[in-house]
Amino acid sequence: MRAALQYLSRLSFQTKINLGLALIIVCFGLLLGAINYAVSSRAVLREALLRGEVLSVNLSARSAESILSMNFLRLTNLVTEMVDQGDRKDLVYAFIVDRHGQVMAHTFRDGFPVALLQVNQVEDHQPFGMRFLDTGRERLYDFAAPVMVGSTRLGTVRIALSHSTIKTAIDRLMWINLAATAGATLLALIGSTFFARTVTRRINALRHSAEQVVKSNLDVQISPAPDRNCWEIMNCKEKRCPAHEDRLRRCWYLAGTFCPDCSAGSFPEKLDDCRNCPVYRRNSGDEIQSLAESFDFMALTLKNHIEELRRSERNLARQKQLLNTILDVTPDLVALQDEELAYLAVNKAFCRHVGREEEEIIDGTDFDIYSDEQADRNYHEDMQILLTSRPLSKEIMTRGGKGKKWHHVVKVPVVENDRIIGLLTTARDITVVKQYQEKLIHSQKMEDLGRLAGGVAHEINTPLSIILGYSQLLLKDFPADDPVAQDIGIIEKQAQVCRKIVADLLSFSRTTEQAALPMDINDSLREVAELVEHIFRQNRIIINLHLDDRIPPISGDKERLKQVWINLYNNAADAIGDDGCISVTSKLCAHRRRLVVAVADTGGGVAEDDLDKIFEPFFTTKPVDKGTGLGLSVTFGIIKDHGGRISAISPVPSEYVDVSPACSKKPGPGTVFFVELPLEGNELPPDECIEIPKKEA
């Protein structure tokens, strides 16, 4: 039962309408047919019985005379006529018996069945008697009528009507009934199918459109276009009206139409005003059309809405991408933390700095990224900012794989609606700025040192010249072998040492002017190399020159520059000790506005911390009595006087390592000195020289 109900509920709407209508018609047809059959069959039977009655009474009247006259022939004719009369073969038999029960005439062809005489006795006073007989072969309605003359009974006539004949008539009636019912049902089915189809087609269209909408296809149009549009009906010329020339939507769905009777509201509120409008009366349809129009309108509204959402989404995505691009491209480290100090957002530079992927950092805290100690320090610092809402700005130094790094860190509390909701941290790499700062401080220091040294040298010069003068004077007054002369000789000798130091200090402090004359750097390098070569050869130190012949003559003090080369060569030889190479390279820089002289050795190298100090006066790594520590500072002063710069790198970068076979034994980390000199003017050009490797490299 339940399965049948389920099956029924699954049937299509059209089938249901058809089935329902057919069921109603069949039920009514059958009921009416049954009633009709009952009534009409009874009428037919009654009529047949009445006929039998009339026939029997009629035969009785007509046979009275023949019985009296004993005219058997006539009697036989009477009964035969009756049975064979017309085309109605419903009379089965007829016979006449006299008052003694003797058969006088009959219509039986195969002999008279005697048993018939005993059934259906009729009394004299009865007009007739009727009895239903079943002979075994057929069923009969047997009628008997007495033949009376006055009150004397002459005999009895008997006729029998066939039950099957009557039944045939009744059956025919039933079939006609059935056929009429079936025909009516068929007609009803055709009609209902037509009706159901007009309804279901539109419902199906609605359903199809709903499916399309579900599949995100919002370009659906179910309701038919009206044959006359509102601007045609109203003869409206308002082209700015939103309904004007809109063939897809009905005007009563549109807000802000210009009709004088329209209210300003939108669908469905404004519909109340439209009920009496000729446009609405003409174009509005039945409920299904209203539904279809509403559906179209809904789909259109939905489409517009979705398009607007998509636009906003695209806009948002674009803005997000822009923001991400800005954050990721900036070299500063940027991180946003919530009030629990969990990371909400970080940029690429931050990820690179901590060496993790963005997914690893987000939602984690400093304890997941840094060492416990560092994270703890950050935590207390950050909580302080969140509690006091005071921003923090500081410079921190970190030592990592790439050496010293300086960061300028700014931490700002993020405030929203008077409440602190997080912490924005930005950190800028200021290592380069710090390096420049250090360089500036260093050069300032050298400047101060130079001024001091120059001042001291000048002040000492006068007393020194008096000491030297008098000691030399006294020396002349005493014979050379006098012990006093020997003592004075020592004073004189030490005064000469002081004189040398003072002269060096004056060289360093750039107070002495230089004679600027055109000179060839390569020549001066070569001359000095030849000068010191044979001294160095005693310690098996070789000087290799790699000089660039394209270098034009520069303006400089040849003698003082030679002193620079001597200092650098000596310095290199001291660093090597025994067995090694000094590689001297001269090059033009890319922009041909300066030249570089590199003096590399294979010695023990200089510690990184000492590299900046080696140019300071009296700084030396040599043992006591082996050097005053003035050589490089004098060199520094001379180069500075020429508008140049001197720097040192240790160990020697690979491109400056001398690869000649003689240098392969006992190679040390070495040191390379770079002397940069401007080709023109007295100042180095602002562009960097790519020929000089950076310290970090």
Binding site: H458, N461, T462, L464, S465, I466, L468, G469, Y470, Q472, L473, K476, A495, R499, T511, T512, E513, Q514, A515
Partner: protein, 120 residues
Amino acid sequence: MADILVLDDVLDVGMMLRRILTRKGHQVHVFSDEEPAFEYARKHPVDMAILDIKLKKMSGVEVLEELKKINPRIRVMMLTGYPTLETAKEALQLGADEYCVKPIDIDELEEKTAEILAKG
């Protein structure tokens, strides 16, 4: 022998020069101020002057210029602890015969003095 005028703001330097040069038989007059030196030069025709560059009121170059006005034939040796290319050029243009740097060796001083005096 010659009359030599020495002008140096440090008197000890002048005294020392006098000691050295008198040994060679010269007459040496030592001054530490400019005015007395000019006065002396006007009254006595000296053969040679040894001037420091840095003096109390004027520079040695200015003194050189002034002395040349007083006596154009005077020989001059500049002797300074503050050698600069600029003053050296200026002094040589104004007619200085020698530009020496302190401290100077006695032998060199004697030699140069003799050379200058020999020119005159």
